[in-house]
Subunit: 354 residues, 2 copies
């Protein structure tokens, strides 16, 4: 042990899904979108190339153009919008900003595993409430003496969405702490809490460009809430790093908002493929939750998930398998193209019939 | 006051230099490089445009290709290199990772003002040691019972560099804590501490693409140190955000390393312009430090800095003026193109002669 080590913040980091190097892999393990970003993004890249010399200059610290475009898109004011380096950056900054109570924050035991990592990193007390036998959240668990509430809706990896009215009761019942609603997957069939922002000053809605907008590689996340809450979030952001979103990214992200038809078409196609995949999986002996996301959370009635995970990996089909109790019975399978899902189903069928 | 506000982390954020919207501004206020990035960066942008669809995929979380290229460039192993969203991200993450002692960390009273902001944000105890009457650091101030040491070399905004041997004595005298050497400006004439990394396991050297590499708009910073130290830094980074550097940025940053001739030529040209600017400023009645950076830190013998700052701003020449005692006697003037510096000097001459 080196002598300075006792002062080190020791953590157990979140482990992201594998990024296999092999070509010809079917990658259904990190919930990426199988379709390219809106064609306008490529056009914006082409245009920006002509202005490469601008890269010598810092980006706008307040990213006001992108904030303006997002506010317009979501029917909010610019004071209600925050932008981060992916939704993880928005969420981590929100944990650091809003969760400084002695009381614990609360989130489900089965949810995005980064919540626990951030709580540990920032030394925030927390409690995890078990989901029920159907992997659903119990509403009463999220009402109480808390320092904060964090709910992914739809939840991950369960893929289950709760109604806006259901979420509203939790937000309303916790006026003394900030309620974060992580809507990374909301565009695939759930109801957003954005319309509740005007009504509840303790609500932060977080969304991302990484899933429905096919821009995981760009790193853009969005936080939306009342102006005072967004100001506090920005104060902390400006106390960490003045310039987080690089110059070209600001323009590409704005461009993505302009093509609503392309956006809706991609999302619809993924939802259709998801429903087809679910039917096929049922016919193969799987059960699964009612997914409102771009992935399914499925378990086979007889064959262990880990066995299927390894079998698929050996055939260059990457899905996600988590080790935690209960969750380890399931596979989280991202929705790829129709062709990719057909290959997945055929591979599973061949294996399960032998 | 809203009822959740008592749990908010309240901070006084760092204020970055103004980003004026007006065209035809001479922008000498944020130490940007006046020359474009290496031509290869634009070529890489052009190539990447053809692969826009890849933006649907997450970037590599370990950014191994860029780390490999940086390690090769700096003659280090890949285990000795960390990459962040600008050097501010690297520094903020290092503060959070390494400064968890009850003992205070130490840095000069006149230095990069973000150090104090990070210490306050993360509730790290700290002491600031006054620089001497020549704005120099007193070596003995940085040897003692500290939880960490942070020194910008060259220092900012003083622009003064200390020799590597001088730095080594401080690093050697503090084996029980991490010593961060912030070398944002090192390429403009100072000695880097990188050769000391093999010798001292408590040393973290931080550099940036924002100044000498003309890529402030891209947001890339570098941390270099022994493998164990870099591993701790990565553990914390992976506990905040798995994917921070976006896909195209990784390639553009690698490309920038390949054109050493262009890099050296730009840096040399800026240093020559700096020396010319210094001579001119002396002839106008300014005194200044011996700058080893891409800016000068100058005070006029009779006219207050704030007056000159406002006069220049009215003429669309932006320089930086800080409000802190002692520092407020000076202007921090970034080195622009020869033409920009001629305009600055002519403007000052016209004003000071009237």
């Amino acid at each position: 042990m080196m002598s300075w080590e006792s002062n080190v913040r020791k953590v157990v980091p979140y482990v992201p899904g594998e990024q296999p190097k092999v070509n010809q892999v079917i990658k259904l393990n990190t919930n990426e979108n199988p379709y390219p970003p809106a064609p306008g993004v490529q056009a914006a890249m082409q245009r920006y190339t002509q202005r490469a010399e601008e890269l010598r200059l810092y980006p706008s610290p307040t990213v006001e153009n992108l904030v303006h475009d997002l506010a317009e898109y979501y029917h909010l004011s610019t004071e209600q919008v925050f932008v981060g380096v992916g939704s993880d950056d928005v969420l981590a900054t929100a944990f650091l900003t809003f969760f400084n109570s002695e009381k614990p924050i609360v989130f489900p035991d089965i949810t995005y595993s980064f919540y626990e990592v951030w709580a540990q990193l920032y030394k925030i007390p927390y409690v995890c409430k078990p989901v029920d036998e159907n992997l659903r959240l119990k509403k009463e668990d999220y009402v109480g003496e808390y320092g904060g509430v964090v709910i992914a809706n739809p939840n991950a990896p369960t893929a289950i969405a709760e109604r806006r009215e259901w979420m509203e009761e939790i937000i309303k019942a916790n006026p003394d702490c900030v309620v974060i609603v992580d809507e990374a997957y909301v565009d695939f069939g759930a109801e957003s809490c954005i319309p509740l922002i005007e009504k509840y000053d303790n609500l932060l809605v977080v969304q991302t460009y990484s899933k429905s907008r096919s821009l995981a590689g760009l790193r853009v996340g969005i936080g939306m809430g009342n102006p005072k809450l967004i100001r506090f979030l920005n104060d902390v952001k400006f106390s960490i790093n003045s310039y987080t979103i690089n110059r070209p990214t600001l323009e590409y992200a704005s461009e993505s908002l302009k093509d609503e038809v392309y956006f809706r078409t991609c999302v619809e196609r993924i939802c259709q493929t998801r429903e087809w995949t679910k039917e096929q999986l049922v016919s193969l002996g799987f059960t699964m939750t009612d997914s409102k996301t771009n992935f399914v959370f499925a378990k086979h009635n007889t064959v262990p998930a880990e066995e299927l995970f390894e079998m698929l990996k050996a055939k260059n089909i990457y899905v996600r398998h988590f080790k935690a109790p209960r969750v380890n019975e399931y596979l989280r399978i991202s929705i790829g193209t129709e062709e990719e899902m057909q290959t997945l189903i055929e591979t599973l069928r061949a294996y399960l019939k032998k």
